[in-house]
Symmetry: C2
Subunit: 213 residues, 2 copies
């Protein structure tokens, strides 16, 4: 069996350190017990035709498993779950519920948080950003309030075990770390904290952060 390879950055600005999406792949590998190696991008790799053939948008992560190459962090963790037989329940319905959580995280929640981060981290001094920010925070809070109500006292997205739905949603909620917003949704904050306290997460985070030391 070939060792999985995942692309990562040798450096990112402090606001992104510990949040880059190769973290999701590292975490999934650690949870599944699949060994992996990182491949650090250098110089103009992101713009090269050979990298763009593997990742249309020039981003990380790309997974390579022998000759097989895959992009989109969520698809990679899906592949790791199917390959390992872990992190995903059996059965048509519970599998679909897991996929529901994956898309809830990456389509119903993350884009709104990302847009807040576009304002706060990339355009804080722009006039449009100052005008828009209060409404964008309300959009984020609306999503979190709805999710918090639905989530209730669940421990995990599906049943009583950790899946790739939880892995993705926890990483999405972490993207609010530059704000105090999540503290107003205690069950979601506790959920994020449970995710972050997993030994596999801690190993994954340490591995990404080691590049920036």
């Amino acid at each position: 069996m070939s060792t999985l390879k995942v692309t990562a950055f040798p450096w990112v600005p402090p606001f992104a350190q510990g949040l880059v999406r190769d973290l999701r792949v590292r975490w999934a590998c650690e949870e599944a017990g699949l060994p992996y190696e990182q491949v650090l991008l250098q110089g103009d790799d992101q713009k090269s035709a050979s990298y763009r053939a593997k990742q249309p948008f020039g981003q990380v992560p790309v997974l390579e498993d022998g000759d097989f190459s895959l992009f989109e962090s969520a698809a990679i963790v899906f592949y790791i779950a199917e390959k390992s037989g872990k992190l995903m329940p059996a059965g048509l319905q519970d599998r679909a519920r897991t996929v529901s959580g994956m898309f809830a995280a990456l389509n119903s929640v993350e884009p709104h948080i990302t847009q807040l981060n576009v304002i706060d981290l990339f355009n804080p001094d722009k006039e449009w950003a100052k005008l828009r920010r209060p409404e964008q925070e309300q959009v984020v809070r609306g999503r979190l309030a709805s999710l918090s109500t639905w989530f209730g006292d669940r421990q995990y997205w599906v049943g009583d075990s950790f899946t790739i739905a939880d892995l993705l949603l926890v990483t999405v909620l972490r993207n609010l770390r530059h704000t105090k917003i999540l503290a107003d949704y205690p069950n979601l904050q506790a959920y994020r904290d449970r995710g972050e306290s997993r030994p596999a997460f801690q190993r994954a985070l340490a591995a990404q952060m080691a590049n920036f030391g």
Copy 2:
């Protein structure tokens, strides 16, 4: 076998007619040959606790298959593919490639188009929107240019057959219909046109539009 039920709106503003996400579910059902019925939301259904238990954000669609309930349109089409054994290739790698296309559509492309639509359709007269619009169009164009280069002369996302990755990406590209942007990326425009020309799509679109007549 129970008939699938999908929630939909009895009316939406003209700019949303033909774009509401139950279209994805109708289209997948039509492609897979699974009969379905629509359930039109009424009055305050979207805000009700019983609906929010099925759909945290109060949106459509919700799928019901007997006692099983599912939200997130992408997860629903995944469920339809797994249930029917259609619209998804066999094999670990091609399945993962399909999921990659699904997330590329809904996380790497759609949020940027949605943000342009937040400006153009919901906030056209706001000062922040006028200031931000040129940059937001460039963000969208950047994604489309990258995708267009990667897509090249492919006919489908995976191999030579239509999958749920194509179904989702075509619906995402349709969300630019109020602009002329897609015309600048002829291979993507042709891809959208191929999707829209499928008889199953036409039946799905007609069924959604019939509610607004």
